[in-house]
Amino acid sequence: MEYLTERKLSMGTLREKALKGLAAFLVLMIVLTMLSRAADSLTVALVTTAAAQKRTIDHTIKADGIFSQNKEEAVTVVENILIRSVNVSKGSLVAAGDVLMELHPDDLQEQIQIIKNDIKELELNILAKKENAAIADIEEEKNLTRAKEEYDRAVSSGNTAVGKAYNAMTKAWKDWQDYKNSGSTVSAGDSQKEQEEALERTYEDKKTAYESAVESMNETLYAKENAIEDAVKVKEADYSNEIARMNMEEMQRKLSKLQALWEAEGKIYAPISGIVTEVRVSTGDLTPATKSFLVADLDGGYQFTAQLGESQKKYVSVGDEVILNLSGKKYIGGLTVEALTPNTEDANKTDVIVSVDNTADYFDELYIGGTAELVIENKSEAYATTVPLTAIHEENGSKYLLVVTESAAILGTQLSVEKMEVVVLDKNLTYAALSEGVLASGQKFVTDSSKDLEAGDRVRLAKE
């Protein structure tokens, strides 16, 4: 009986302890449940989702650029004249007729005198050349006449000598023939034969003398003919006078310019109203052969130039509407892209050029070197599937969305993300257009996440 009572008492104590232990265990499990939930909520990414929408992909191209002159005029002066003073500097605003610089009058006068002397020298040279040529012609004529006279004289004396030799030869022939025909030859003795042979030798001598006379005359005549030919000299080409004349004309033009400068008291005036954009002279220097000044014509408007990158260039074409945002919420509308040219310094960039004429708003506030922001709105066709750009991720060159999938899990309906590869047709800074048929209608995808996500990661929705 006592044993039973003791057992009951010990069982009662044990029961109480066990019940307390159970209660403590349940309390511990409540605490651990909250802790594990809290830890889980910290590890699960909080995401914002969206569904694809139909919209146009509007590209707003923005680029900073500067204003430059639309037209400018170069001021050139006769070179190598000493500059007394330069009255403007780069950026100076000038009116037409304003003095840009003054030339040194003494140097100008000296230059004029030098030019005049040079011209005079050229004139005298030309004149000397002419007179020398006339003298040479007379000399030549005289030599020719003399050669001809000598030739004629040689002909006359030659004919006389040849005639005499001929007559002597003819006479010797006749004497020899007469002696032979006298008949005494058959019965003739040795003396007669010797006589005949003597006549024959005489004839032969005369004949030889005749032939010599003819040959001598021919040689003499040949020499005289050569002398006549030599008297007529072949003239070399000579354009020195023409060249000198051209030089003289050039000098005369320069002289007239210098004289004009002299009359203007050496002052160089601005040809147009505008801004001096380049000054290539300074006091004490000589005037250069090329331009001395560049003056921008402000009445001709401004040229706005901005650089576009590769990604922007494809959305801009000539004729597109342009807005130029100036400082202070001012803007110039109604402009168009005039030209797109490759940038000279960076091959990957393109210069977009916009002309701003003097009828544009705020024209008076524009100035060369001033800056503005170019804005071009490019509207695309309406795409059926567009998503926020933040939803698109890229890995190894392929683009993908993280679509939200629901699955039944122990913690209830569990959301997780899966990768879905997409093809981006077009995009701007905010949205991207995707090829159709990939995303189901209404399918949610992650646009923003509190953590980096991988495929299969669990997520919690922050808001729709």
């Binding site: 069982m11 029961r15 066990a18 159970l22 349940l26 449940t33 594990s36 830890a39 899990a409």
Partner: protein, 285 residues
């Protein structure tokens, strides 16, 4: 006499050995829960790897004891707690139902006489004998009709009307003397007063034993939730282990240990009543 002495000396040894055999699974759980993942994978390789040969080896003391799996389960696994509280909800609902429905039913069977009482009780006993597989299809159809499939109500309600607790408590209520009830009636007590002031106090042992037995049964419920609950977020803790894979075997051991703790507490708190209940269920009608 000598035989009795020898038996008295041998018995404790035999009982200790038997105790060790029965306690071995618990020791297995405790040591496994303290092992590192690598160590567990080495020992359990023949279980998980299809190509591995041989049998599972085990070490009673971990080489590198760690509480990592406890921290992982209790702080980083909210799913475990969902299932734990699902189990608490199911068991709590069922046991409350037993008290609210089963206790009056058992009292009625024990102390009231009505037509076909014996036949009805026999039907009760027959139903008690039927395993779940027999009534599964009909239960499913009924629950589906009442739109209770995939709800905790679909598990709780059939269990609330289980016949076994009625049978156990019937035995306890039968032991309440009729004379005591008649005395109470003479003193002017009504049926409800007799039930609350005499029946329940005197049958409290039966009620507690029913609660202990019910807890141990329904804490380990597997077939009913697996059949009637489709959503995993409704599953009880008893279905957590099948979710465990080879990669986190350590968590399986820890979850088993944690699931064991309330059962031990309940067992200890109702140990003597549990014995009485088991004895009561063994009494021949």
């Amino acid at each position: 006499m000598n035989y009795a002495k020898i038996l008295n000396k041998i018995m404790p040894v035999l009982l200790a050995l038997l105790c060790l055999v029965f306690c071995y699974p618990i020791l297995f759980l405790l040591t496994g829960s303290l092992m590192g993942t690598d160590e567990l994978q080495d020992y359990l390789l023949p279980v998980y790897a299809e190509t591995a040969k041989g049998y599972v080896t085990w070490r009673m003391f971990p080489l590198y004891p760690t509480l990592k799996h406890y921290v992982e389960l209790l702080l980083d696994t909210p799913e475990f707690f969902v299932m734990f509280w699902n189990s608490v909800k199911l068991v709590g609902g069922i046991l409350t139902g037993h008290v609210l429905i089963g206790v009056p039913a058992a009292w009625g069977f024990a102390k009231y006489h009505f037509p076909l009482k014996r036949l009805l009780f026999i039907i009760y006993i027959i139903l008690m004998m039927m395993p779940f597989q027999v009534t599964m299809l009909s239960s499913y159809l009924v629950l589906n009709r009442f739109s209770l499939i995939n709800t905790h109500g679909g598990i709780i309600l059939p269990a609330v009307f289980s016949t076994f607790p009625v049978y156990i408590m019937y035995r306890f209520f039968c032991q309440v003397p009729d004379a005591m009830m008649e005395s109470a009636q003479i003193d002017g007590a009504g049926p409800l007063q007799i039930f609350f002031h005499i029946g329940i106090p005197m049958g409290s042992g039966g009620i507690i034993s029913v609660i202990v037995l019910g807890f141990l049964e329904y804490w380990n419920l597997i077939e009913q939730p697996l059949t009637f609950l489709k959503s995993k977020d409704l599953w009880p803790l008893s279905l957590y282990l099948p979710e465990i894979t080879s990669a986190n075997a350590g968590i399986a051991f820890v979850s088993s240990v944690v699931a064991l703790i309330p059962a031990i507490f309940v067992f200890l708190s109702g140990q003597d009543y549990l014995e009485q209940g088991i004895v009561a269920s063994a009494i021949k009608e």
